[in-house]
Symmetry: D2
Subunit: 337 residues, 4 copies
């Protein structure tokens, strides 16, 4: 970390700052030019004490020379992380598609969707048993009953299960039934929940918050890794902007950016990100073209009867057609699907 | 709720939609013009089924004619809600100021700040014992120890205590020590936590999420009220925009908007919203001028030693000067402080 | 356009509104339900009078049932517009790439870049002679001299020229030298400039404003078409959001959305949208995968010597490698390049 | 400007960078620590060459130690700029209110509004003769006829005139009739127009662009000052965010920020910023409380008949009541109105 002091900072204040740096266990490296005074703060993790220096009146600018995260960074681990579950490799050459309804509704429906999804090439079934809904009056999910249906779908089809956990008390039960634990966008900075899934023994898919910077997103993943769970998938799902033609603004730029900064696999959720059925295929193709390792997609045979998010669900037939198109795009960038 | 159908929707589809409306327990009211077909969906809470109609291909537009929230709305309760704690009235003529450090650090420091704050006219002491921090490596708060210090500060000064709860398991312990339970911005859509504090017997201050619309903010408050707790304070604390000169963009427009839509008291947190010490007084005055019922302010005698958020903390002396200025502005809009 | 009145609007006010509708040359279609009063405003272009009804106290909601633009819409023209310049077809099966420096600097350099770009498969040379720069002290472009170099590059290589016009007085001179007139993002709502290029006899590439909604973008294009020039290309180039890892947030969602709403060709400018060299190939592939008809790319052999936008320029060699990759993606979605 | 190089940059590259710095007329100041290599670029306006260094692969971070603007900065001029027009002082102790319709419509109406506004305490009449409208089919303003009405209103009431100019060709005619030339938000980065009004002999009110950072706003003002016109008023008018309850998000934080960074007077336009009549008084009070030097307000006796922006216009009576309230707030912060 480099501190640039305000011009004409008196010697007394420079000394004070240097002493403070030493107190914190770092070494100051002072460089006085004609117009500028610069102090390097040398030592591991100095950046974590940024706040202290920001509060000093004599400090004009702070230049971070290291990232505020460690374990999730490419510097820490050069090769891509590949998460293995049964025979599936997430983050490898093959692109993984998870499909399913937004909410688990009935067992029959879930099994029907799962079987269709499998035939089209999906490798995972997705569906919420615990649902974070904007309105307290909206359907809040089937709870454990829903988890059981998911487990049954897994048994019948061999698809892996991914489903959301909403609070620290649910981590145990969700972990019991699912293959991958999902943390929703609205919980990306629910730090106690991140710590809890960091202690779980199942991979975690972490969705980006609606207004989270990529750096904050990686910091939230760092919470999970630093608690012992290294199997984390990062999922872009749309950010909030002024545009209203789409439900959110799916930020595909995040894919190459995260791929550069981190070794973790990156998924994209075009269904939530765009929110309009007819734009999903185009954005799914784009996700693969720019480097995504997987997709989360909503599929529902009767979107108008879905308990939630009907407008963005693909019909099984649309999904099937799209999967064929995605395969071609995947091959064009040297991947499989 | 009014459905506008796509031009030339065949009769068969119109009939289907009308039947669906009846199935859901509402009455359809069909109006066919030359170019337009409009169906009114008549009945209580029809808006809560909006998703179902959005998923229908024949529906071009949906016009909500009622708000998706009830208990928090001005329609439900015309007069301003006044929350009484001991002798304090929140939401009345007097503007309430809560001051204190971002994090509770040591007992001595907290007591010192509390006494200074009281002398300057603050009515509450604020400070975090459980801290939501972006980095897993940053100070995470003193936990229950911090709550005890807050309780002691209350005992010594008579200031009411407001402090944050971060997860469902902490609600019990926080409720035990605090006068007002704070839900932080990053937890505004942590619905299980909202339900839990909805069952608590203490008032709740709910902060607006970084990218939450005012409607979503009110929906989150509705979670608390619908679980039985009607003593909710809404707190604007800055939203995320492209501007980087301030830490967030304090959205004061939210104050008159919420005052119109809801009967609940509205606070503003300029310290977090702006994030730069020298702009706090101007934005505090503006908050009062546009109708805020209270302010949350960070005060710290040694900001450069604070464990968090030093750059935005006022010195006790600056706070004292500002309180005198705020009093004049409060009087100019017919309020006291 | 449908007006939903506030509940309990007195008959007198309903009559007033109906009379106003007739005065404006439309027909009112009144529908009174138990809880709701709805008035359809029947007639061509009623939506253009929206402001008038919004200002009425009795009107609670306005539902537009037609788009505020006409000539640019898919309703007006079903088939894709294909713009023909010499042998080139823009908006057809082939994807068109324009490459070149941000600013025209020297003749030699421009010719060198043009020849390299051509070899790699570009069909147009891009470069600014008039430059909109944030700072008055930055290089403002070579002016007409730059236009001459571009014309010379065209003569030598056969590449078509695209270059920016910044004000109404320059339209004549720019039109003289260029094949396609570019309107920059900061001028997207410079309506007098739009009218002027609407009268020009050359195709126009219109860039989306930094915070323009897609609807506003189409309205700006409507200015050009309604002045007689139907050869308009719409270009997504990144919007402003809170994210700082990329220079702007390239909004690829805009591509399928515009393709649905309009018949005009859509280009993408990943160089400006992302602003970081190493992310350009990924986002270029994604642009093609989601349906873009062309790309605008910055290429410069010595980015560190460029007069502007060096950090986002590709080296000719990088460009060449990328073009080969783009060809594969184009083929995977049934296009050529 | 300070360059922080990537760790392990070879000596050869360091030398190259130092040589480049000298070539550009600056002095390099090298400081090599154990982990960090820092080069200070010493010399006037080094920051203007930032692009060149950003394009260098070895450069990891650039810390600007000076602002990219000069003439508009507090460093350049410590005291507040006070613009004198006749007996009026803009930027002094008195807060100046400009009131009037969005568009100039008829002479009679304009005179009526002007007389009412004057009685209530306004010092300027505002109204557009040239109107930037999103739709090409909307009313585009009366042109010179409108300017004449404004001049007549000035003659009758003594109110100063402020009106908008939209392109370089109109500057002459607008300057002839108006006291203050307004540049609209959509033209904030219309650099040729900024240069042109920089040569005009009348004060300029520059509105902030919808997605312009405060730094870009000041850079645009710098265009005007650097062309010779030092009488510039900066006007906050709302930025674009995700919030839809207000038309834009009026960013009052900009007021204290600009006051700190610049010596120029700051106005606020709550009518456009909020866009909803009933929120205007609250936000006008807040504008004054946080330090605005003046307000731009829309007043119209028949908002439902206005040619534009009716929903945000105050009735003359509402305006009159509000002005009395604003006076109290102004006094509470030591100002007059």
């Amino acid at each position: 970390m480099i501190l640039t002091l305000k011009p004409n900072t008196p010697k007394k204040d420079i000394d004070l700052i240097c002493r403070k740096i030493e107190e914190l266990g770092f070494k100051p490296h002072l460089s006085k030019g004609k117009e500028v005074i610069v102090i390097g703060v040398i030592g591991q993790n100095a950046i974590l004490k940024k706040d202290i220096f920001e509060a000093m009146d004599a400090v004009a600018f702070i230049t971070p020379i290291s990232k505020p995260y460690k374990l999730v960074s490419r510097e820490f681990k050069k090769e891509n992380t590949i998460i293995k579950i049964d025979n599936l490799k997430i983050g490898g050459k093959e692109i993984i598609v998870a499909a399913g309804p937004c909410s688990v509704e009935t067992k029959e429906l879930l099994l029907e969707i799962a079987e269709d999804a499998k035939k089209s090439g999906a490798k995972m079934i997705r569906g919420g048993a615990f649902k974070p809904r904007t309105s307290p009056y909206a359907f809040q999910g089937l709870g454990e009953e829903g988890l059981k249906y998911l487990a049954e779908a897994r048994k019948k089809t061999g698809l892996l299960v991914i489903t959301e956990v909403m609070n620290v008390k649910q981590v145990g039960i969700v972990t019991k039934y699912t293959d991958i634990i999902q943390i929703g966008a609205r919980n990306m900075q629910n730090y106690d929940l991140l710590k809890e899934v960091g202690k779980a023994r199942k991979p975690v898919l972490l969705k980006r918050g609606l207004s989270a910077t990529i750096e904050e997103f990686l910091m939230s993943a760092e919470y999970i890794l630093s608690n012992g769970n290294y199997d984390v998938i990062l999922c872009e799902r749309g950010i909030r902007t002024f545009e209203t033609a789409t439900r959110f603004t799916l930020d595909l730029n995040a894919v190459p950016v995260i791929k550069k900064l981190s070794h973790l696999p990156v998924f994209v959720d075009p269904s939530h990100g765009v929110g309009v059925r007819e734009y999903i295929p185009a954005m799914s193709k784009a996700s693969i073209a720019c480097g995504a390792d997987g997709l989360l997609l909503e599929v529902h045979p009767h979107p108008e009867k879905a308990f939630s998010d009907g407008p963005q669900s693909l019909l099984p037939k649309q999904f099937d057609v799209m999967m064929k198109e995605l395969r071609l795009v995947a091959e064009s960038v040297g991947r499989g699907l």
